[in-house]
């Protein structure tokens, strides 16, 4: 299923956080949203996983208007890995992952055998199977991050949105996670801070600056010395990755803004 943001705007307290953002994520594509802090990336994402109602514009899931769907209904199609990793009580890892089934279950209905297997598989995929009985509050930031992604996968979504999923992760788990996203076959919209990882992992990139989409396209088209200088205010040289050919940025210190 494809995901389209159509002229999406978010205004709160008279401040425009996202301004007429249009972006399309084709089925099975991984699209990255990049931009400096406060450029509206997370806000745009929140409209997709329905923590926020857009002030105007629409989010389309295929042919369906997201804002018209009941929350539970859209949660069966769109899963999110958000930035709030905090959990109030000491649930076990297994319990948190199983909560990913919540939109599919009525009341306290127990998980079926198939759903249990789904949880096991997701935990193994994210390399947290050995933590199943651990309390989530005792985990490291990176481990918790992987628990949250496992929970999102268990939701069996068609579309996955992730807000800085590589936060707290060590290099191996960053690479693992992005490989998993690429191999998942899901339609993915992901906010990333690391432009090099974004270039390697995404089919297309959207660059946000002050709530506006200032560039979009294949990483090689978007990530230019000019754009990185304009949007992020840093000097960077762009070189092709020696193995994959993806554009990679080499930053120089004491940049002239």
């Amino acid at each position: 299923m494809d995901l389209r943001l159509d002229e999406l705007s978010v205004v709160t307290d008279g401040r425009t956080l996202v301004r007429a953002l249009s972006l399309e994520v084709a089925e099975g594509q991984v699209v990255g949203l990049v931009g400096p802090n406060g450029s509206g990336k997370s806000t745009a994402l929140r409209c997709v996983y329905r923590a926020l109602r857009p002030s105007s514009g629409t989010v389309w899931l295929g042919e369906q208007d997201l804002t018209r769907l009941p929350l539970r209904h859209s949660a069966r199609t769109v899963a999110a890995m958000t930035q709030d990793g905090g959990v109030d009580f000491d649930f076990t890892v297994e319990e948190v992952v199983a909560l990913g089934r919540a939109p599919h279950l009525r009341g306290n209905q127990a998980l079926s055998g198939r759903e249990r297997e789904l949880c096991e598989r997701a935990m193994d995929q994210l390399d947290i199977g050995h933590l199943a009985q651990r309390g989530v509050l005792t985990l490291s930031g990176g481990e918790r991050q992987r628990v949250l992604l496992a929970r999102a996968l268990v939701q069996e979504p068609k579309i996955l949105v992730l807000d800085e999923p590589t936060n707290h992760l060590d290099v191996r788990h960053q690479v693992d996670l992005l490989s998993l996203l690429r191999g998942s076959g899901l339609t993915v919209l992901v906010v990333l801070h690391d432009l090099n990882l974004a270039a390697a992992a995404c089919d297309r990139l959207g660059v946000l600056s002050q709530g506006r989409l200032v560039a979009s396209g294949a990483p090689a088209e978007v990530l230019t010395t000019q754009l990185v200088g304009d949007v992020f205010g840093v000097r960077a040289s762009v070189v092709p990755h020696p193995l994959t050919g993806d554009p990679q940025l080499l930053y120089s210190l004491n940049s002239t803004c």
Binding site: Y49, L71, V87, D88, G107, N108, E117
Partner: protein, 379 residues
């Protein structure tokens, strides 16, 4: 889908092996889950048996001691409309008219306070919350004392004070809601802060009323309401209390998974199909109603609603459906024994319930806090 990793997860997480799912792992997990469900059911059955036993023993104990067998016989006679000899009428009246409603009320309120404690902690996302943190009890006190002093609601006879307390509780909840809701959203932090502030305000109002009250009845009423007692229990109030408390617990239990999801944070809850504001408003309404009814008949009994949720979470984990199955039973048993202690230890005088629950609750709470391995909902 990649297969589950083998025993060395770090080495094999990303390798694409043969796509065959080893049946042993999921089967074992399913079995484990079933076993734990069974254990939960067995535990609940055992607790229910203990509760029944406690109720019968507690009905038998008091100034006139009646053996459990005798008590059971009288209870059965009352329930089945059986025959009681003329020389047993006094015992029957003690059992059925005086002690049974009191012990049943204790069990109901103990169950209700524990369940509501769980719900309030989930609602305001704070491990230190109890059923009274939202101003319900101090609002009820103002209502009760107000009715006592002004003689209002006199038409309601012996229920006037309870009705006054209930109205006070609901007004307090409404005020807390109105003051904390902002643009249709109900932030847990704002809710708990408003509740605490409002409680202090209501306490001031209550002190004012007592200060200017012409008689001393208001003062004893305040003590009664802030410490709690089942001394005024009658059969008349029991139907309302049992329906509200039991229905409240049943509804809360049904929304166990919703509370689990809310504990993951508002953003995540929304992405899992649980609109946090909608459910929080519903929870607040339910919690206010049930607490209001309980406070109206027993006053504000401290510590039960704070400590029981933590004790039960230590036993069965954090999943709300499990906690809400066990907590009411444990709370009911605890309260039956607390009430028994309150009315027998310094007989013929009676200790306020809050004194007993605090004397038991404070050490338990401190011990819990110092215990390793229980994180108290935070680090």
């Amino acid at each position: 889908m990649p297969p589950p990793s083998t025993s060395i997860p770090s080495a094999s997480a990303d390798t694409a092996g043969p796509a065959e799912v080893p049946a042993a792992v999921p089967a074992a997990a399913v079995k484990g889950r079933l076993a734990s469900r069974k254990a939960l059911l067995l535990g609940c059955a055992a607790l229910t048996a203990v509760l029944f036993g406690s109720v019968v023993v507690a009905i038998g104990l008091g100034p006139a001691v009646i053996t459990p067998g005798e008590t059971a016989r009288h209870l059965w006679a009352a329930l089945s409309g059986g025959h009681i000899g003329p020389d047993e009428v006094t015992t029957y009246q003690i059992v059925w008219q005086i002690r049974t409603p009191r012990v049943l009320l204790a069990a109901l309120v103990g169950a209700g306070l524990s369940a509501i404690g769980v719900a309030v902690q989930a609602l305001v996302r704070n491990a230190l919350a109890d059923p009274f943190v939202l101003g319900v009890s101090s609002g009820a006190s103002v209502g009760a004392v107000g009715v006592t002093v002004t003689g209002g609601l006199a038409a309601l006879g012996i229920y006037a004070v309870s009705v006054g307390a209930f109205i006070g509780a609901l007004v307090a909840s409404l005020l807390v809601y109105a003051a904390s809701v902002s643009r249709g959203t109900l932030s847990p932090l704002r809710l708990v802060l408003t509740g605490v502030a409002m409680s202090l305000g209501f306490q001031a109002v209550m002190s004012l009323i007592v200060y200017f009250a012409p008689d001393s009845e208001a003062t004893s009423m305040v003590l009664y309401w802030t410490m709690g007692s089942f001394g005024a229990a009658t059969w008349g109030a029991l139907p309302v209390v049992s329906v509200v408390v039991l229905a409240g617990i049943a509804v809360l239990h049904r929304y166990g998974r919703v509370m689990d999801v809310l504990a993951l944070g508002d953003e995540t809850a929304a992405s899992l199909g649980v609109g946090p504001d909608r459910y929080r408003k519903g929870l607040l309404l339910l919690v206010s109603l049930v607490t209001g009814v309980m406070v109206a008949v027993s006053g504000a009994i401290a510590f039960v609603g704070l400590v029981m949720p933590h004790v039960v979470r230590m036993l069965v984990g954090a999943t709300h459906a499990r906690v809400l199955a066990v907590a009411p039973l444990v709370g009911a048993i605890f309260m039956v024994w607390v009430d028994l202690a309150a009315r027998t230890v310094v007989a013929p005088r009676e200790l306020p319930l809050g004194v007993v629950t605090a004397l038991v609750g404070v050490p338990v709470f401190i011990a819990l806090m110092r215990r390793k391995g229980y994180t108290f909902g935070g680090r």
